[in-house]
C-alpha cells in the first residue's frame, strides 16, 4: 500500500507491520536494515521502496547479525536507524543491541513476536517479554520497550520510540506479536513535528573538532563502571518519566486484569462482558513494558485480586508481583505456542476467582 501526502485527518487501512514501517518513515528514519522472517515480512518489504524513493537507505542484510550491526554503524554516524525481526531473529540481534546500549547509541528495534523456544512456530506469542525487558544480551542494560495493542498505537509508539531513543541515547523496542503485525485497522497517518536532537557524538569526520569514537569498550580501571553508572542514571530518569499505561474501570474493581499488547484487547472485551454481568472487573494495560508501569499499580490499591493474562507461561507476571509486592493476590492465566487465552476462558477464570 502506498501512502503519499495524505492529509493528517484521512484514515487509511494498514496492517500493523506496514503502520510501523510508515511511522518509521514519518519519524525520519534514514536507515533500515533487516532480514526476512515471518510474521514481520510486510515491514521490511514496505521500507524497501519507501525509504529509497525519499533518498534514504534500505539494506536487506545477509543476516540478523549484520542488520543490527549496520544499525550500530548508521546510528553512530548520526542517522535515525531501525531494524525489525521476529523472535528467533531478535535473539540473533542481542549481541548488537548490547553493543548499541553500551556505546550509548539510539536505535529502534521492532520485534513482532512468534512462538518459541527454538524455531517455534509463526503464531502470535508474548514469550519474549523476559528477553525484551531484562536487556536480552550481555551486560547491565535496558531497552525502552513499548507494546502497542492496535495498529494506530503501533504507529504512534514507533514515532515516540525514535524520539526517546535519541533523547536518552538508548535502544528502543517496539514489542508486538504476529497478530498485531498482520491485522489491518484504519489509522491516521500523522506527520509528526520531528524532534531534532543534537548529536555532537556522531561520527561525521573530525573537521573543526576533536575526533569522536563510538564504542562500548572501556578497558582502563574504573572506566567501564563509570560508563555503566551513566547508563544507570539514564535508566532511573526513564523509570521516572516514561511509564505508560492505560487503566479501564479500575476505580471500583474487585478484580483487575493485567494484560498488554493484543492480549489486552481480549482482556478488555472480557471486562466489558463481566461488567454486563455486574462483576466488578477492571483492566491495567501496561504500554511501556520497560520501564514497567509500577505507578498504575500503586494507584490501584482497592482491588484485592489481580489476574495477569499473557500469551506466555507467566513472564510479565513477575513484574506485576513485584509491583504488587504482596499486598494483593496475583493470579495467572496464560497459554503459549500458538494458544491464545480466549475471552471465554478469561471470563471463566475471573468468575472462579470472585
Amino acid at each position: 500500500m502506498k501512502v503519499k501526502n495524505k492529509k493528517t485527518t484521512e484514515k487509511v487501512l494498514m496492517a500493523g507491520n506496514e503502520a510501523i514501517a510508515e511511522a518509521a518513515f514519518q519519524a525520519g528514519c534514514f536507515f533500515y536494515a533487516g532480514y526476512p522472517i515471518t510474521p514481520q515480512n510486510e515491514l521490511i518489504a514496505y521500507l524497501s521502496w519507501r525509504l529509497p524513493e525519499a533518498g534514504r537507505v534500505f539494506v536487506q542484510a545477509e543476516s540478523e547479525l549484520a542488520a543490527i550491526n549496520m544499525v550500530f554503524g548508521a546510528s553512530a554516524a548520526g542517522a535515525r536507524s531501525m531494524t525489525s525481526s521476529s523472535s528467533p531473529g531478535v535473539s540473533l540481534k542481542q549481541e548488537g543491541i548490547s553493543y548499541i546500549a553500551g556505546a550509548r547509541l539510539p536505535a529502534v528495534i521492532v520485534n513482532i513476536m512468534r512462538g518459541g523456544p527454538g524455531l517455534g512456530n509463526i503464531a502470535p506469542s508474548q514469550s519474549d517479554y523476559f528477553q525484551s525487558t531484562r536487556g536480552g544480551g550481555h551486560g547491565d542494560y535496558h531497552c525502552l520497550v513499548f507494546a502497542p495493542s492496535g495498529v494506530q498505537e503501533a504507529f504512534d509508539l514507533t514515532i515516540s520510540a525514535f524520539d526517546l531513543a535519541d533523547i536518552y541515547r538508548v535502544p528502543a523496542m517496539i514489542l508486538g506479536d504476529g497478530m498485531l503485525g498482520q491485522m489491518m485497522e484504519p489509522i491516521t497517518v500523522r506527520q509528526p513535528v520531528q524532534r531534532k536532537t543534537d548529536k555532537p557524538w556522531a561520527l561525521t569526520g573530525c573537521a573543526g573538532r576533536t575526533p569522536n569514537v563510538a564504542k562500548s569498550f572501556f578497558l582502563a580501571e574504573g572506566a567501564l563502571e563509570k560508563n555503566n553508572l551513566i547508563l544507570q542514571e539514564t535508566y532511573q530518569e526513564i523509570r521516572k518519566k516514561e511509564q505508560r499505561f492505560e487503566t479501564f474501570l479500575t476505580d471500583d474493581a474487585a478484580i483487575i486484569l493485567v494484560a498488554y499488547g493484543t492480549m489486552a484487547r481480549f482482556a478488555k472485551a472480557a471486562v466489558k462482558q463481566l461488567r454486563k454481568a455486574s462483576k466488578k472487573a477492571g483492566l491495567i494495560r501496561p504500554i511501556s513494558l520497560w520501564p514497567f508501569p509500577d505507578q498504575a499499580f500503586s494507584a490501584a490499591k482497592k482491588s484485592k485480586t489481580f489476574l495477569v493474562v499473557e500469551m506466555s507461561y507467566g513472564q510479565m507476571l513477575e513484574d506485576v508481583k513485584l509491583a504488587i509486592n504482596g499486598r494483593a493476590k496475583v493470579e495467572f492465566l496464560g497459554r503459549s505456542g500458538g494458544g491464545i487465552p480466549t475471552e471465554e476462558e478469561i471470563i471463566k477464570k475471573v468468575k472462579a476467582l470472585l
Partner: protein, 242 residues
C-alpha cells in the same frame, strides 16, 4: 628548508600496547600516513576490530567506530551508505575478518560497497593467546592445536582474498607483507591505491597485509620477519590478486 618527513598528523604521539616485533604499529602508521597524504583526515571514519587492534582509535587521530567481533564490514556498509561523502575503512585481523566475520566480509564485498578494508593476516589469534586462526599454516602450532594445524582436522588455511577476488563487484585485492622495508613501501602503495579507489567511487578494495606476531609464533622479531618471507609468503603469495 623543505620538510620531507615528520610524524603523521593522523597518528597520536603515544606509545602503543603492542608486543615487541608486532606488525600493527607499522600498519597503523601506514594508514595514518596515507590519510595525511590524501588530505582526508577530517573526512575519514575508521572501523576498529575486536582483537589486538581493538583500541586502534587510541592511536589514530580521526573519527573511529567500534565493531563487534567480525561485524566491521556491516558497520562500514551502514556508515558509508549514510555518509557517502566520508572515507570509510575497516581494519581487521584474520579471526575477525575470515572466521567470525566471513559472512559480513563476503556480502559487503559482493555488494561492491565502496569502502576500504585493511586486512591484517598474522596467521594466529593474538589478543586471546595464540589460538588457531583460519589462516594458520599447516603444521603451525597454536594454543588450540598443540601439534600444529593438520589438513585432516582443520582444513587448509583460508585464502579469503582469493575468494573475494572472484566476486564481480570487488574492485581491488592485493596481498602485501611487512617483512622488509621495501615490502613495507609496497604495502603503503597498495593501501594508497585502496583508499584512492574509494575516493574515486570505484568500489570494494582490500589489502591483505602479512604481519608478524613474534609473540605467538614463538620466535624473535627478526626471525618472525624471515618466517613471513620464507614460509608464510609461500602459502599466501604476494602481489596483486585483482
Amino acid at each position: 628548508m623543505e620538510k620531507i618527513f615528520s610524524h603523521p598528523e593522523s597518528l597520536r604521539d603515544v606509545s602503543t600496547h603492542y608486543c615487541p616485533g608486532c606488525g600493527h604499529g607499522i600498519s597503523h602508521r601506514l594508514v595514518a600516513e596515507i590519510v595525511d597524504e590524501l588530505g582526508i583526515r577530517e573526512k575519514v571514519i575508521g572501523i576498529a576490530p575486536v582483537g589486538c587492534a581493538v583500541i586502534a582509535y587510541d592511536y589514530w587521530d580521526f573519527d573511529c567506530c567500534e565493531a563487534a567481533h567480525g561485524r566491521a564490514c556491516a558497520v562500514a556498509t551502514a556508515i558509508k551508505r549514510v555518509r557517502p561523502q566520508n572515507i570509510v575503512f575497516t581494519y581487521q585481523g584474520d579471526g575477525d575478518l575470515a572466521a567470525i566475520g566471513t559472512n559480513e566480509t563476503i556480502h559487503a564485498a559482493n555488494r561492491g560497497e565502496n569502502f576500504t578494508v585493511v586486512f591484517i593476516n598474522n596467521a594466529i589469534y593474538g589478543m586471546t593467546g595464540g589460538q588457531l586462526a583460519p589462516t594458520t599454516l599447516v603444521g603451525q602450532k597454536a594454543s588450540t592445536a598443540l601439534k600444529g594445524r593438520t589438513v585432516k582436522e582443520h582444513g587448509h588455511p583460508l585464502k579469503i582474498s582469493e575468494i573475494l577476488a572472484s566476486l564481480p563487484a570487488v574492485k581491488y585485492v592485493e596481498r602485501v607483507s611487512l617483512h622488509s622495508p621495501s615490502e613495507v613501501l609496497k604495502a603503503k602503495k597498495a593501501l594508497k591505491q585502496a583508499f584512492t579507489n574509494q575516493i574515486q567511487g570505484a568500489g570494494f578494495s582490500l589489502v591483505e597485509i602479512l604481519s608478524p606476531c613474534a609473540t605467538y609464533w614463538g620466535m624473535p622479531p627478526k626471525d618472525a620477519l624471515d618466517w613471513i618471507r620464507d614460509v608464510m609468503a609461500k602459502e599466501f603469495p604476494l602481489g596483486r590478486i585483482k
